[in-house]
């Protein structure tokens, strides 16, 4: 049987495609609000959660999920109080999470290949149980986004006006960062905690080069996210020794450059068309 259709590779495709859909969907709201680095911060914190989970003997996914949600609430609180105006607070949280994770894992003698898998992704070792968890988390994120789309967009466009017109801005902000936390946990196995934020941002940058509307950019971003995940997995399988997390993100960046060129040409044609 062709290795590209082996069970472990198919599970990697499915996990990658799910995260490839959900991550850019939420990423659109983050990028529009200039919160692109929040996903990175939560990924770093989730590493501490994984370490604590491993040390206490429960699933790394749940450790990452709990720590990412706690981190999300802390980050949102700091942001709402205006304490994230400089990147210093965010950096402190990043380094605290990663350092705590390394210390806990090394103290328990488990700073090994598992840690690298968590940090940089290991989609080929996705179990059926993890696939179900990833599916559930991604469906939850997409369902919440669909229900609150118009409110999330209104806040992303202009937080002050949204607040002035009666939207529950603080609660919507908390909802958004909690969804990021869910995605961090979902994407941990696919691209790793250090790279999951890339899937929330890079496909969105690709979408922004090709569309004239927020919804259009979101559709393009989702397409780019899924394509990156699938192509990244194929490249990793074909090459044999490549880390799939890295190949997924590099594919995504490659798609961005293609979109930048295509988008620039399309913009020129649009301008010429408008001038006639």
């Amino acid at each position: 049987m062709n290795i590209l259709f082996a069970n472990f590779v198919v599970r990697a495709y499915v996990a990658g495609a799910l995260v490839g859909i959900a991550a850019p969907t939420i990423g659109c709201f983050l990028v529009q609000r200039k919160l692109s680095l929040i996903g990175d911060g939560m990924g770093h914190l989730a590493f501490a959660g994984v370490a604590i989970g491993v040390a206490l003997g429960f699933s790394p996914v749940w450790g990452a999920l709990v720590m990412a949600i706690l981190g999300a609430l802390l980050l949102e609180r700091l942001r709402a109080r205006g304490r994230l105006s400089s990147d210093l607070s965010l950096a402190l949280i990043f380094y605290f999470g990663i350092a705590l994770g390394v210390v806990v894992l090394s103290a328990t003698g488990k700073f090994n290949a598992t840690a690298f898998g968590v940090l940089f992704g290991s989609p080929f070792s996705t179990t059926d149980y993890e696939l179900v968890v990833i599916l559930a988390l991604c469906i939850l994120v997409l369902a919440v986004t669909a229900v609150f789309y118009k409110e999330l967009l209104a806040v992303a466009l202009d937080e002050e006006t949204a607040r002035a017109s009666g939207l529950p801005v603080d609660q919507l902000n908390v909802l958004l960062v909690v969804m990021v936390a869910l995605l961090v946990a979902a994407g941990m196995r696919v691209v790793g905690l250090l790279l999951i934020a890339a899937l929330m941002v890079v496909p969105v940058a690709t979408g922004s080069r090709l569309a004239h509307s927020f919804r259009g950019a979101m559709y393009w971003a989702v397409g780019a996210g899924v394509l990156s995940a699938l192509l990244g997995v194929v490249i990793a399988v074909e090459q044999g020794s490549l880390a799939p997390g890295g190949s997924i993100v590099l594919t995504s960046i490659g798609l961005f450059f293609v979109a930048a060129v295509v988008g620039r040409r399309a913009a020129r044609l649009h301008t010429r068309g408008g001038g006639q």
Partner: protein
């Protein structure tokens, strides 16, 4: 009474921006707020919107507190200039539709009637041909008109507009002013901050000037005699 201030005081530092402000804005009134930069015009709007808390005194808006979500949903606000990140493209239609999100309520989707309202608001500011275009690729005046449409789309009972004509061609301003007058005639209270009350000379009921933290009502003639718009700019 749409808006009532009683002995309101507010300041950003030690010196108050507004001191002992009493005012009454009624339904159907079109009011122009004038004054020099930093005189407190935008502050007055933000107090009315519940975006700032008065340090003393009371503010009543539409019969309740400006901090209540139900009251806020009945207001339309157009801030001065574009206040959104330009990271992602956003169409004019999307920006204007965002103005309907609060009045629609959570869990409800936009229906055909809602999109009709969005299109009507876009047409009202003369952007019908550009509704599918990316906002950030439009001129400053066109962007300002889209922001104005976002404030109008929910048919609010109170319209608070901060420099709504900034960047808009002089030739287009009378039509926009007439649209705002139409809203006032339909029962809304329209308050427009402006450096140049001439934009609303034909349509406004009152000019209020803020100076040294106090509010004075004047006529157009008095404005030009005592408050030179050139100096105000």
């Amino acid at each position: 009474m749409t808006v009532a201030f009683e002995n309101v005081r507010f300041g950003y530092g030690a010196a108050p921006t507004l001191e002992g402000v009493d005012l009454r804005w009624r339904a159907g009134e079109f009011i122009v707020l004038a004054g020099a930069n930093g005189s407190g015009k935008s502050t007055l709007l933000k107090l009315s919107l519940g975006l700032l808390k008065p340090q003393a005194g009371t503010i009543e808006v539409l019969g309740g507190s400006p901090f209540e979500a139900g009251i806020r949903r009945r207001t339309g606000y157009a801030p001065q200039g574009l206040r959104m990140a330009t990271s992602l493209p956003v169409s004019v239609t999307e920006v204007v539709a965002a103005g309907l999100a609060p009045s629609k309520g959570l869990f409800s989707r936009m229906g055909r009637l809602d999109w009709r309202k969005v299109n009507a608001a876009i047409d009202a500011v003369g952007l019908g041909d550009l509704s599918a275009e990316c906002l950030f690729e439009l001129s400053g005046g066109q962007q300002q008109r889209a922001i104005l449409a976002r404030a109008l789309v929910g048919d609010p009972s109170l319209l608070l507009l901060d420099e709504p004509t900034t960047g808009i061609d002089r030739g287009l301003r009378p039509a926009l002013a007439a649209e705002l007058r139409r809203r006032a005639d339909a029962g809304a209270t329209v308050v427009a901050v402006s450096h140049d009350p001439d934009d609303f000379h034909e349509v406004s009921d009152r000019i209020l000037v803020i100076q040294d933290g106090q509010i004075t009502q004047i006529t157009h003639a008095e404005f030009h005699t005592h408050f030179d718009p050139g100096a105000a700019k």
